[in-house]
Amino acid sequence: MGVQKIATFSPSEKTFTGGGTFLPGEVKGIIRINPNKCVGCDTCRHHCPAGAIKGSLGVTHHIEEDLCLSCGQCLVNCPFGAIEQMSFLDEVLSRLKDPDYTVVAIIAPAVRVALAEEFGAPPGTLTVHRMHAAFKKAGFRIYENNLAADQTIMEEGYEFIAKVKYWLLGDKTPELEKFAEHPLPHFTSCCPAWIRYAELYWPDILPHISGAKSPQQMAGATVKTWVALRLWNIDPRKIYTVGIMPCTAKIYEASRPEFKSAFYWLKEKGHLPEDTPPFPDVDAVLTTRDAAELFRCLNINPLNVSPEKETDITEVYTGGATIFGNSGGVTEAALRTAYCVLSGQEPSSWNIEAVRGHTTGVRTAKLAIPLKPLGGKKANFHICVVNGVKNHLEPILEDVVIGKSPFHFIEVMNCPGGCINGGGQPVNPMGTSWIDPLLPLPLKA
């Protein structure tokens, strides 16, 4: 089955002006409804987790930019292809042609599964080595987003462990004092749509959310610091980082003004001239669909490219990173780390299947971890995986706000199924998350 064509448009000057719920520089209006194509079927409104889509049945709909999370769920679920996505493809193509720049692709795990669909092959057909070779043929160097996901899980996993020590084990040592302001339950922070949702609609939840950046942002900062200076010996100002993401909200995330960590670090360490203007950690984001379009523009079919034989040090990663793309994956990876650190031993199985949550809107699980500080005494950790913000999240958040949440760790993925069903993925013309509003049903993915 082919994929549904999604129209794109280029950013305008208004895109970066800020205003409303956007800071200057933040990309707004990533998703828009084409009024000439919208028939007012009202489907999109039921998929919007933020109530940002206005319009009633039969009436042309529009998106309230200030309320929008840029998640793109409306886009992938519009039967008429009336919803369009802002694309930075032209900018990336021009950078690829510029010999002064090293263009780095940061490729998310969900991309490799879906990219083949854009070229008429079943999901998962494309191997990682073949995909890497295709990006290199297009002129990119690669920093695996999965490597950054491994970094993320070290940050986020240890943050969770620290909260457990502070709040459950009573460890009030000075280095854990900062967690007095960050109580359990611990929320994941990888999903930019979820973060914006929390910021706009549930600010009381913010202290619970992990302070770890998403893999994309860790990758961007790492490429422009450690990789540029230590591995490739390149001027960080001449590196152009491109997130290749299954997600339209990642376009927004990359533009957030706080994500200029590499610039500030490099400046502080004297690696940049004084007059260097600030630059972002991630310069542009292409969705999976955009990446496919880029390959088409360059006459590259990733399915026909010979796979790489050698793996660069920036392309290695663990299996824990790969599962980030699926709902429950971040939790599973974090719990593996937490189990090892808190118990001092490896779990009986690395597969914590109880938290894999793509078949239900909310998946809850209980994990018994023998705690080393308590002499191996087992403690039950209550885990929750929210698989799609729409319809499922509010009761969970309400319990947290009133202090009655039974959970210690809560993963939130805005899109049903996780990043694999993100707003930037190839669009299945038959509908992917259409059945989600009917959940809970015993549906098997």
């Binding site: 079927c41 042309t60 059945i435």
Partner: protein, 241 residues
């Protein structure tokens, strides 16, 4: 007694409510789909469309479930095709000759039953579309997320273009021809019995008259409507004999 019942009360109620609600649905739907009004007006028209859809649906269901025998007879009349039914197509019932002076086929029209071949074809299509529009309409409104986008699109376009095509057929075919057949029109729309004259029935629906209608001598000086009428005979239907 010189009249015969052609349309029962239940048929008349079904047909007339269906016709009125059909045009309410068609007009509101066309204005909304083709964007012929402002947002607030379209919103209002869509509400009318939905409620007219409720009337349209329950009118059809009521006909089937409250008068199943009439629905059965209707379907039987529409589905029974003999050689005369097919022969109607040789000259299209003589209508091209009658209205446009176009000579097609033989001058003589093959004898038809209660409905001629053109009516049978059209009414079967109408009934199919009524069912299709009810099913697609309710699914589009209530169950869009259970279908998937592909089926949703199919239902949507069937709903929109099926209704437009049917409305065109009704507006430029069914209605003008029914106006041309005045007795049938009055039988269907007048407040009162849905009768046509025996003469009309014998001329336009000879096989129906021959096969389904028999003349019974009056026995108690009351006709089928309870009126005193002691002269001659009264038409009854064969299955009421």
């Amino acid at each position: 007694m010189d009249k015969v019942l052609k349309f029962s009360v239940t048929e008349k109620i079904f047909h007339n409510v269906n016709a009125v609600s059909w045009y309410v649905l068609a007009i509101t739907g066309i204005i909304v789909y083709f964007n012929l009004a402002g947002s607030e007006t379209k919103n209002f028209l869509m509400q009318i469309h939905i409620w007219a859809g409720v009337v349209f649906t329950f009118n059809f269901l009521a006909f089937i479930f409250l008068a199943p025998h009439r629905f059965y007879i209707l379907m039987k009349n529409l589905l029974e095709w003999d050689k005369d039914t097919f022969a109607w197509f040789k000259n299209l019932g003589g209508y091209p000759r009658r209205f446009f002076k176009i000579n097609i086929g033989p001058e003589e029209v093959a004898p038809q039953g209660k409905f001629n071949a053109g009516q049978k074809l059209t009414y079967l299509f109408f009934i199919f579309m009524i069912i299709a529009l009810i099913v697609t309409g309710w699914f589009l409104y209530f169950a869009k997320h259970s279908m998937g986008k592909g089926l949703f699109l199919m239902f949507f376009y069937l709903h929109v273009w099926g209704s437009i095509i049917t409305t065109l057929i009704a507006t430029f075919g069914h209605i003008p021809l029914s106006i041309a057949n005045k007795e049938d029109l009055l039988a269907m729309w007048r407040i009162g019995p849905g009768t046509v004259s025996l003469k009309w029935a014998k001329h336009h629906n000879p096989k129906w008259f021959q096969n389904d209608v028999i003349m019974r001598p009056l026995q108690n000086c009351r006709d089928q409507y309870g009126k005193h009428n002691c002269k001659g005979s009264v038409p009854i239907f064969r299955n009421e004999k």
